[in-house]
Each structure stands twice: as structure tokens, then as C-alpha cells.
């Protein structure tokens, strides 16, 4: 059985990000002390889009950092494949900042655990909030997102992919049944 289902199209993604941008601003009462940190690679593109939307709304630029969590993974010793290491680039201090962590899909929560460990190594943020475009459930750690584009109940046999123009030339979220 081959099945590929589009659960979010370009407009859907854009509307979600617009709403999330407003929610971030509402919850944090503006952009004071606010910084965005995108998790490589999908999260970085989404963070850049959120930054543009926040600029359109507030007229102010929010600092944007890039985080590669590879070195903080808990499966480096057990997995057979070593992920290619990307660059981390957080060119500002996180001390006292409200950090909005951005990723595309929230699944087991292990990536976010690694990301939080990495952030703490950069300083002591005032708080960390989590933004994801898709929350597909199946958490293995006590982690939840503050801002969610779409809750997508999924089975473990499904793969959820966030496809973005910056990387794949189009915007959509698809669910496929893993063979």
C-alpha cells in the first residue's frame, strides 16, 4: 500500500507561521530581549520566515541564531550513521534572553533535549520557548511545544516531512507510510 498525503500546503504553512509570529509577540509582550534560534536545517528556514513576519508586524529585527545539535545527540555511540556536522552560529550572547527555539517537526523530543543542552552551554537564557510547525506526538521525554503550527496525530509507521522552498523548491507537509 503506497500512500502519500499532503496535510498542509503552502498557504497553510504561511498562515500558521503568521499566527505563530503573533502568538510569540503576544506571549513575550513584544520583541524586547527576544531571540530566535533555528535548529539545522528545517528549523533555520522556519526561523528566518518567523523573523521576517515579526519584522513586518513590529518593524524590528530579532537576532537569529543557527544551532547544529549533532554533538549533543544521545545516539552518536549507537547509531551506525554519523550525521554530517553543520555549523553552529549564534553570534550574540544568550544571557538573560528570551530564546525561541524553532524546529520543523516535534517527535520524540530528543532533538529538543539536545538543543536545550547546547543552548545552556552558550549562557543562561531568561527562558526558552519552543516553536514547531508540526507536532506529531510520540514523545519519549517530558517536552512540549509553546507554539504549534499543526497537531498531527501520526502512527510510528508514518514519516512526516516538512518540505520547504528554501531547500526543496516548494512548500508542503506530507505524511507517507514507511515501507
Amino acid at each position: 500500500m503506497e500512500k502519500k498525503k499532503i496535510v498542509m500546503d503552502a498557504e497553510g504553512i504561511d498562515r500558521s507561521l503568521t499566527r505563530i509570529a503573533y502568538e510569540i509577540l503576544e506571549k513575550n509582550k513584544g520583541v524586547e530581549e527576544l531571540v530566535l534560534v533555528g535548529i539545522r536545517t528545517g528549523g533555520v528556514f522556519l526561523a528566518e520566515r518567523l523573523r521576517r513576519k515579526i519584522f513586518e508586524i513590529e518593524g524590528r529585527e530579532v537576532p537569529l541564531g543557527i544551532l547544529d545539535i549533532t554533538l549533543y545527540r544521545d545516539d552518536l555511540q549507537t547509531s551506525h550513521r554519523k550525521p554530517r556536522l553543520g555549523k553552529t552560529d549564534i553570534p550574540f550572547s544568550l544571557n538573560g534572553k528570551k530564546v525561541v527555539l524553532v524546529d520543523d517537526v516535534l517527535f520524540t523530543g530528543r532533538t529538543i533535549r539536545a538543543a536545550m543542552d547546547a543552548l545552556i552551554d552558550f549562557g543562561r537564557p531568561k527562558l526558552i520557548q519552543l516553536t514547531v510547525l508540526i507536532d506529531r506526538g510520540h514523545r519519549e521525554l517530558p517536552i512540549r511545544a509553546d507554539f504549534v503550527g499543526k497537531n498531527l496525530p501520526s502512527s510510528l509507521w508514518e514519516a512526516v516531512s516538512v518540505i520547504l522552498t528554501e531547500k526543496n523548491g516548494m512548500d508542503e507537509v506530507v505524511v507517507e507510510l514507511n515501507a
Partner: protein, 307 residues
């Protein structure tokens, strides 16, 4: 993608893809050394032994810092304070270290091939930190990383390597690496210090520094090993300096944007004049900074995920 080998013994056996993987990974490690907290948890619980049978400041410290910034436990053994002075053989020392279950052994030895012997004998990953006049792969990797970062690439560059080519493992590793990556390599030195058949490694040989560095993008000066003076390979340090030092006068023959490198330790006033070593063309200290990142990359790529 992962590095599909247990050991790093030389540049000769590395492919261009492997070299690029190591250099790309090293580029990503640079940032960690600029953080306030210069440490990531990646190699927590791993043990790295630095086994040095020859003197070293840079390489040993660099490996130690690289291991520590990855949260590994690093132990340094130098021959002068170990059981070597009681007559223990290299194989016995290595077998005893293996029995303590380290994950990586970094070795420097005056005998060419010593790391290769250990690699065949031990289940641990072996990294060659210099074996005799054979290879010094991590030095060549950090040199290539530095060149790539400063020039945007390696292919098509003209690189001059000047000095005691015959006794230099740095020269040998760099010649292997740079020619693989598509650079044109020129070597120069006194005839007594140019090994026979070096042309077969794909380099052009000159006996005058001026010819080798003309229009060069990179000049790599080698340390003149002063202990060689006794072997009558050159009449005196003074005469060597007169004919083969890089100085304000002859550097003008190279390209305007030439970069000057030296693996250290430098003999100021012998192979390189102080104003060049400290001048605007010098990237000697960038080499040292990048050395830590390259060694972090190798430790990361060699450990874990392979079981």
C-alpha cells in the same frame, strides 16, 4: 557520511573525499573554541592516550585540548617519564595501554611506521602524530584547512615548500595532500636535503628559494633541524640563512597576496626572518588555531557509531 577507517596513519592513503569530509567537519568545530564554555559533551566517557616518544609542544597540547573540548579524558605519556626509560619495548607499552581500554591512541615516534605497527596490533584507533621522516597527517590537514579558509580552495594554487625536504614528515604529508587536492607544489632546499626521486611525488624541484617562491600563493617554510648541522648537510646555520631564508627581500618574488606558513617551532633568523614571521603575510598562528579543530574532527569521526 562517516570516515570508513579505524586509524589515521598518513595522508597518502586518504582519498580526496575523505580529506574534504575531515576539513568540512573541522570547519564546524572552529566555533566551539570561540565559546565562553569551550566544551561539548560528544566524547563523554571516551579515553584518549597521547603517547609521545619525541618532544612536542604544539601537537601534544593541541590533541589534549581537542580531546578535552569534546569531553573525552585525555592522558599524556611522554617517553622520558615512562617505563620506556626502564627499557620497555614499544609493543609492550602499547599492549599494556590497550589493556586499560582507551578508545584512541595518538602516537609520535622517531621510527617511521611505528603507528602502522600499532594499528595492526591494537583494536584501538591509532592517530599518527608524526613518525620519523615519514608522515605527519594532522599537520598537513590543518595546513590544508588553513589554506582553504584563507584562499577559498586549494586547487590551482601554487605552493612552495622550502627547507629540509628530506627529513621533513610535514613536507611529505603536505605534498601528498596538496597534490591530491589539485595544487601545484614546488620544493626548494640545499641539494643535500632534497631526497632522490622526490619528483615522483608530483612536485617540481628547485635548488634556489627564489625560483620556488616566484608567483607563489603559499610559502611553507620548514624548520631547519639544527641537529642536522653535525651531519654536514649544510656548512653553517649562517650560510643556510643567507641562501634559504624567507625575508623581506625575496618575499617580493611571490604574489602580492602570498601567505606564509610554518609548522613550528621556528628558528627565527634562520629559515624565516622575524619580520616575515610576524608580518601581514603570516598565517602561522591561524595554523595553530585550526590544528585544534582538525584534531577534534578526527577524534569525532574515528570514535563511536562504528560498532
Amino acid at each position: 557520511m562517516k570516515l570508513n577507517r579505524k586509524d589515521i596513519l598518513g595522508i597518502q592513503e586518504l582519498s580526496v573525499e575523505e580529506i574534504n569530509l575531515i576539513l568540512d567537519t573541522a570547519d564546524s568545530f572552529i566555533e566551539i573554541s570561540t565559546r565562553e564554555i569551550k566544551k561539548v559533551p560528544t566524547l563523554r566517557g571516551k579515553t584518549i592516550i597521547n603517547l609521545f616518544y619525541e618532544a612536542s609542544t604544539r601537537t601534544r597540547t593541541s590533541f589534549e585540548i581537542a580531546g578535552k573540548r569534546l569531553s573525552a579524558d585525555t592522558i599524556n605519556i611522554s617517553a622520558s617519564t615512562s617505563s620506556v626509560v626502564k627499557g620497555e619495548t614499544l609493543i609492550d607499552t602499547a599492549k599494556n595501554l590497550e589493556a586499560m581500554n582507551p578508545d584512541v591512541i595518538v602516537i609520535r615516534h622517531s621510527a617511521a611506521g611505528a603507528p602502522h605497527m600499532l594499528a595492526g596490533l591494537l583494536r584501538q584507533s591509532i592517530i599518527n602524530a608524526g613518525d620519523g621522516a615519514h608522515e605527519h597527517p594532522t599537520q598537513a590537514l590543518l595546513d590544508m584547512m588553513t589554506i582553504r579558509a584563507k584562499k577559498g580552495g586549494i586547487a590551482g594554487l601554487k605552493v612552495a615548500i622550502v627547507g629540509d625536504i628530506a627529513h621533513s614528515r610535514v613536507a611529505r604529508s603536505n605534498i601528498h595532500g596538496l597534490t591530491k587536492m589539485g595544487a601545484a607544489v614546488f620544493v626548494a632546499g640545499p641539494a643535500t636535503m632534497i631526497p632522490r626521486d622526490i619528483e615522483k611525488m608530483g612536485v617540481v624541484v628547485h635548488t634556489r628559494i627564489e625560483e620556488a617562491i616566484r608567483e607563489a600563493d603559499i610559502i611553507m617554510m620548514l624548520r631547519i633541524q639544527t641537529e642536522r648541522e653535525k651531519q654536514n648537510l649544510f656548512p653553517s646555520l649562517r650560510e643556510y640563512a643567507q641562501y634559504f631564508s624567507l625575508n623581506r627581500k625575496n618575499i617580493g618574488l611571490a604574489r602580492k597576496d602570498v601567505l606564509v606558513m610554518h609548522p613550528g617551532p621556528m628558528n627565527r633568523g634562520v629559515e624565516i626572518s622575524p619580520d616575515i614571521a610576524d608580518g601581514p603575510h603570516s598565517i602561522i598562528l591561524d595554523q595553530v588555531t585550526n590544528g585544534v579543530a582538525v584534531r577534534m574532527a578526527l577524534l569525532y569521526l574515528l570514535t563511536g557509531g562504528n560498532s
